[in-house]
Symmetry: C2
Subunit: 204 residues, 2 copies
């Protein structure tokens, strides 16, 4: 692209360095900002800078937070005896969105993946064990993706926790609600037959 201005070029380069944004989209964003009042760009610029500078990691669950302890961990109305183990912040957001979980989280920061060179020590597993030892946690729910790496991670953590007095569970796996059976993949369908559940006429 030929830019008439070095400043525009720098703006376009800044945006196009972000994932999924090409040069043409970046130019559109830049021209949009140039068409807006100066304050819009100032606020935009400040929000990005402030976010990156001031954000902290919760010392308990490793979620991103404005305070040293995040608003989930510091909420007395939540069930502090149940920990949900997840891979990332995005999983916390997805679970919070469902409104079905009122316990606390623990973010691993990834899953064990020898191919990508991520071992147990790269994750917050040791912190999880000290956390369980130090608090009144009674149940640990593994909400980790049902992949080979995910299963490895669940197995590793479960072994580490086996000496402690906590119940370990994983989120239910099977065919998706609202999904057509014929489109479910073979592994999911096969395993959901093996792991079939007794049918209840009434919800308990």
């Amino acid at each position: 692209m030929n830019f008439s201005s070095k400043l525009i070029e720098e703006g376009v380069n800044a945006f196009s360095s972000l994932p999924g944004i090409g040069k043409k989209t970046a130019l559109r964003l830049v021209l949009h900002l140039l068409n807006q009042p100066k304050e819009v760009s100032e606020q935009f610029s400040e929000a990005i800078l402030k976010m990156r500078t001031d954000i902290k990691q919760c010392s308990k669950c490793f979620n991103l937070s404005d305070e040293p302890v995040c608003n989930i961990c510091s909420d007395p109305r939540r069930d502090h005896s149940t920990l949900c183990i997840v891979e990332s912040l995005r999983d916390v957001m997805a679970i919070e969105e469902t409104g079905q979980f009122r316990g606390l989280y623990h973010i691993l920061g990834g899953i064990i993946s020898p191919i990508e060179g991520i071992g147990p020590t790269d994750l917050t597993i040791d912190d999880l064990i000290s956390r369980i030892n130090a608090t009144e946690v009674k149940e640990v729910i593994m909400a980790i993706s049902p992949t080979i790496e995910g299963d490895t991670t669940i197995f590793y953590i479960s072994k580490k926790l086996s000496d402690l007095d906590v119940k370990i569970s994983t989120i239910a796996r099977g065919v998706s609600f609202g999904g057509e059976l014929e489109y479910a993949d073979g592994i999911t369908l096969g395993r959901s037959i093996i792991a079939r559940m007794p049918y209840k006429l009434k919800e308990e």
Copy 2:
């Protein structure tokens, strides 16, 4: 979306205020920046701010520029006797990309559109006339979109220029190079038959 952090929320809101970026994409961009070293966000933030603050409009052609006169208008190697009239900066970039034009530009800043309330006085038409009067411009090329609004704009400018001693032309219209005839729209195809050109065995 439930955000664990006000700062993340502000970052997501900043990105999702841009055109074509929704909340989910914005979150992906925010998490990407948070995963990068602090310098990346600082540079990003600075590039946006500096761009918006320091950018100028070329006093001759109204292109965006780092200097009071843009690098096209101030280039002595370009043909200062030919002006290409375009709607916006993006059109300048598209034409520059082709490498087929060595004259100067004049950016109207829009086209006449009664529906959107844009009249001739909202555009840089008066500046164009003073510019032609003050310099040695011999030809004016209208590179304006072939729409009703575009044609109105071309008609209006041509009338304004009719007293001046300049040649007026429009860019060629017809079926696209490399396009299949059967997919060309009816108006384009019909007009390109009416405006058929004599075939030359040799390029002149």
